[in-house]
Structures are given as C-alpha cells and as structure tokens.
C-alpha cells in the first residue's frame, strides 16, 4: 500500500516535469547580421553582372530613345530632365522639364520615388549626351530611363541648328569599303573602386563617368586618326558599302558582349565608336566607359562626314523637314513649379527600410 502511493506521487511529479520541459523549449533568437562577401575582381564582376542580367546594351530596346511625338503626348506621366546648359534652358524648354546637369543627375534622382513616373526622359541638344546618360542610368538600375531622340533640335526649330550644323561631307578620303580583319581577343580593362558591393561599385563608376566629355568631332578624330581603335556599329551589309577607313565592324547588339567580341576591343588606348547619328554609339560608349574602356563616340556619326551618302542610302540622315517639330517652348528661369515641387517632395521608400545591420567587409581587409 505504501509503495503504491509512493509510485503515484512520483508519477505526478514526472508528469509535471514532462509538461514543463516541453513548454520550456522557447526559441532563443538574436538579431543577426548578413555578411555580404566582398567583390574581389571588380572589373570582371561588372562584366559578369552585365552578361547575367540581360545585358541592357544588347537588349532589343537599346539604345532607349524615345521620339518627341511620344513625349508630347505623355508629358504628364514622364519625369523630364533637361541636362543642357542653364543659358540654353532659359532660352526655351519643354513644359515641366527640370534643369539638372549631367554631373548632379545621379544625386538628384537618388531620393526620388522614381517608379511613379512611367519614364524618366533625359533631354539634351542632340540626343547624344542624353543617350550616354541614359545608358549609364540604365546600368545603375533605372530601368525606365529614356533619351529624347535627336534632343531639343527635334522639339523646336529654334534649336534645330544644333543638329543642322553638325552634318557635313568633309573627308571623302577617309571613307572606303575594305573589310578589316577582326582583331585577336585580349584582356579586359581592370579597375578597382572603393565600392564593396555591386551597387556601390556601379554608383562610383557611374558618378565618375557620367560627366565625362565622351564625344569627339570628326575634325578632332581626323587630326589624331592613328590614336583610335575605330568601331563601326551598324549592320554588315552597310559596312560593306561604306565606312571609315580602317574601322572594325562590330555587329550591333551582338558583339559588345563577353561571350562574343568584347575582349577584341583593346583594353588600353582610345576606342572610337560611331554609328549613323551618334546616339546609339553614345549609349555603347557609356557602357564601355563603365567597364573601364577609354571609349569615345563620334559626334553626329556618319551624318558628320558622309551626309550625302547617308541621305542617298537612307542611313538615318538628319533631314530638318522630317525631324524638326514646332512644339511649344517655355522661356525663362522658372522651370516647372508644378513638377519640380512634386519631384522634390516625394522621398524614396528605401529610406524607410529597417535594415538590420548588414556587414560589408572593407575590401582592403580581405585583399590578398
């Protein structure tokens, strides 16, 4: 009898322990920090990154130009950024366009809540600088950036001279149709920035290159002709008709890739890219400069040295009667009170993310 009670008592105690041990399994959790491994070979990482994520410069929509007609129709949904000199801006600009120079455009965009604009439109005089800026912004992750095709010259005849003065037929001696052999593959350029992660590297590269004076005139090219590795960036059939003497044919949207001909471009020395109007080549040059190439674009492309042939072959000649519109201009200092106010007030949602500490090791520490 005594034993019996004894056991019951022990059992109850056991049950108690059982219950308590089973509720005791509270999960103890502490805040942790993500460790992002540092990017070791930055230039190679950038090339790999571009080839992995669709390679915007070789995408079908490249070079991301948008006609003035479209802009006229959809102005309300677009963020218009005018990158011309302030004097020119005062002389006349599109209603709602905000004057931001190339140098400060990245910092201007950063705090904005960009996606509520259907597109960011970059405006300049001829469309070439805009294509360059657009290319760099695209690389940084602004997937809705576009350049206004042919620039303000196409918007209003008051500015058409920017383009009209750019066309010409000098230097017939420099045009031929001899196929140049494809150069051998070589190395990629290399660079190191203080950036620790991809986005930081991209931003540092972009900030550095976006203000670069990347385009040269045909006169300038001719006087230093030997210094340049010349890339002809249009279809082969047209290359066989005429191109700059000694220019290498690179297939548009196919050749500037790690998997194809990118490494045949010399990593050291000047590289010149040209196309019909200078806009596509500007975009390509933006891409190449980010990768560390010393690349330049030929201003106004083939329009600048073989205009008559461009007209005869329909190679995108700039014909004022076709391209220039007479859309309204706003004159004066006051930009777009309405739109700039909106743009400046809305903050980027990123600022509200509560990121727990993310550790980004200093590259200097891990460098070997």
């Amino acid at each position: 009898m005594k034993n019996y009670k004894n056991i019951i008592g022990i059992l109850f105690i056991l049950i108690g322990i059982g219950f308590s041990s089973c509720t005791d399994s509270n999960i103890s959790s502490t805040k942790a920090t993500i460790i992002i491994p540092p990017i070791k070979n930055q230039s190679e990482a950038l090339i790999n990154f571009f080839s992995q994520n669709g390679d915007y410069i070789n995408a079908s929509e490249s070079p991301y130009l948008i006609g003035v007609e479209d802009i006229k129709d959809n102005m309300a949904n677009y963020l218009l950024l005018d990158t011309r000199y302030h004097e020119d801006y005062i002389k006349g600009h599109i209603e709602g366009a905000i004057n931001v120079d190339r140098e400060s455009i990245i910092n201007f965009l950063k705090p904005l809540n960009i996606y509520q604009y259907k597109r960011i439109i970059i405006i300049d005089n001829t469309g070439q600088g805009a294509a360059y800026v657009t290319s760099i912004l695209r690389a940084m992750g602004y997937g809705n950036a576009y350049a206004m095709k042919n620039g303000m010259a196409a918007w209003n005849k008051e500015f058409a001279y920017h383009w009209i003065d750019g066309v010409g037929n000098k230097y017939p001696n420099y045009v031929d149709n001899v196929m140049v052999k494809k150069p051998k593959k070589g190395k990629y350029p290399s660079f190191t920035t203080k950036g620790k992660t991809l986005s930081e590297i991209l931003e540092i590269r972009a900030q550095k290159e976006i203000k670069y004076n990347f385009s040269i005139t045909i006169d300038n090219l001719i006087s230093n002709y030997k210094d340049y590795f010349i890339i002809n960036y249009w279809p082969k059939s047209n290359y066989m008709i005429a191109h700059l003497k000694g220019a290498h044919w690179f297939q548009p949207k196919k050749s500037i890739k790690a998997s194809t001909d990118l490494s045949t471009i010399p990593a050291k020395g000047k590289v010149l890219v040209y196309c019909y109007t200078g806009q596509n080549s500007s975009a390509v040059v933006g891409y190449l400069r980010l990768l560390g190439y010393d690349a330049y674009s030929l201003r106004f492309g083939s329009n600048s040295f073989m205009y008559n042939e461009a007209v005869a072959n329909h190679w995108h000649p700039f014909i004022a009667a076709e391209k220039v519109h007479n859309y309204p201009l706003i004159k004066g200092e006051n930009p777009s009170i309405k739109k700039s106010a909106v743009a400046n007030k809305i903050k980027n949602p990123d600022l509200n993310f509560k990121h727990r500490k993310v550790v980004l090791p200093d590259p200097s520490e891990v460098c070997d």
Binding site: Y4, I7, I8, L11, L14, I15, G18, F19, C22, T23, S25, N26, I27, S28, S29, T30, K31, A32, T33, I34, I35, I36, P37, P38, I39, A45, F49, Q52, N53, G54, Y56, A59, L109, N113, I114, Y115, Q116, I120, A139, M140, G141, Y142, G143, N144, A145, T197, L198, S199, E200, V342, K345, I346, P349, D350, N352, F353, K354, H355, R356, V358
Partner: protein, 203 residues
C-alpha cells in the same frame, strides 16, 4: 493494482502527447504582437537584394527560403534557395528549418502578402534573424535577375507611393472628395445573423 496501471498509462499518455505536440509557441500575445506590428518587419530593399544576389558566395551566412509551391520552385528559383511551401510550413521538419538559427533566413514567396504572413509569424514566435523580400518571385526575376531595375521598379513597402489626396483631386470625377477631416464615424455593428457568405476574396 488496476488503478496503479491506469494511472501509469495516463501519465505516459500525458508525457507522450507532450512530446509529439509541436513545441513551437507564440512568444508574443496577440495584443503584444499588435503593439509591435509596426516595428518588426525586416524588409530587404531591391538594391540590397541585388548586392546579395550578385555576390553570392558559399561563405555567406544566409539562406534563401522559397515559400512557393514545389512546381513553381522547380520552374525557377533563386540560386541556393530551399523550398518550403507555405502550405506545408507547419510540417515538423519544415518548421525546424524555417525557424532555424543556423542561417539568416531570407524569405520570398509568390506574393508580398504571403511573405508578410511568414515574416509576421516569425516575429510573433520571437524569431529575429530573418529578412523578407517583398514582391513576388516574378518581381525578383524581372527586376533583379533578368534585368537590373532595382532603382525604378515598383517595390511595395508600407509607405504611400503617391499623394493620394492630390491624385483624387486631379482625377475628374463625381465625388468631389475634399480629403481628410472625417472622424471615425460610428457604424452599425449590431450583430445579426449572417445572411450569406460575404463575397470578396480573390486568390
């Protein structure tokens, strides 16, 4: 002796039932959870996700968790992600991985809502070493992997993306709604018998 046996069995049952039962319990009561709901979701921005994704390394201390169905997972998922379907989350083994403290879990799913469910659940369990990625997998695929649109893609954290009052004002319409000022007007909340299943719901 019979009584002794019965009690013994009852005791065993109690012990065993306790062992097979899920040990996972909420750390926060609903009231506490409501208090902390605003402060506790750890959202990764697309830009940071890009940085993580493009520096993927085996030495990293995080683990992607894909909450979608196995079928969707098989069709494509983030490099290195493991699949724990949301519907099977409560299965014992999944539960363990889900609340595991070995890695920092970075969770994504088929919709923003699903991921917030998972994140808030972890928060209520008292787990702290996790991050969530808003948007669905398509968002990640289209704006980080296939194209790098991290700065312009419409990511959706809980913040007003628009100036609503202004937009309503600008939208031509009949309501002539003048913005705020409305105080919580008492509505009818007399409990009546349910008439019919309420509509809504669109999964």
């Amino acid at each position: 002796m019979k009584r002794y046996l019965i009690i013994y069995l009852v005791g065993l049952l109690a012990l065993s039932s306790c062992n097979t039962k899920q040990d996972i319990r909420f750390k926060l009561s609903p009231e506490e959870a409501a208090q902390e709901a605003n402060s506790g979701s750890y959202v990764i921005s697309p830009e940071l996700l890009g940085d993580i994704y493009y520096s993927m390394d085996k030495s990293s201390n995080y683990q992607f968790i894909d909450l979608r169905t196995p079928l969707l997972y098989d069709n494509g998922h983030l490099k290195g992600a493991i699949n724990i379907p949301f519907t099977a989350l409560s299965h014992n083994h999944n539960c363990e991985t889900f609340i595991s403290q070995k890695h920092i879990n970075i969770i994504y799913g088929e919709s923003t809502e699903q991921v917030i469910f998972a994140g808030f659940l972890l928060q209520q369990l008292g787990i702290q070493n996790y991050f969530i990625i808003l948007g669905d997998y398509d968002f990640i695929e289209n704006n980080i992997i296939k194209h790098y649109n991290v700065l312009s893609a419409p990511y959706n954290p809980e913040i007003a993306q628009y100036n609503y009052a202004k937009i309503v004002k600008e939208t031509a319409g009949s309501q002539n709604y003048s913005g705020g000022g409305k105080t919580a007007k008492p509505t009818l909340h007399i409990k009546r018998r349910k008439k019919a299943a309420a509509g809504g719901g669109c999964d």
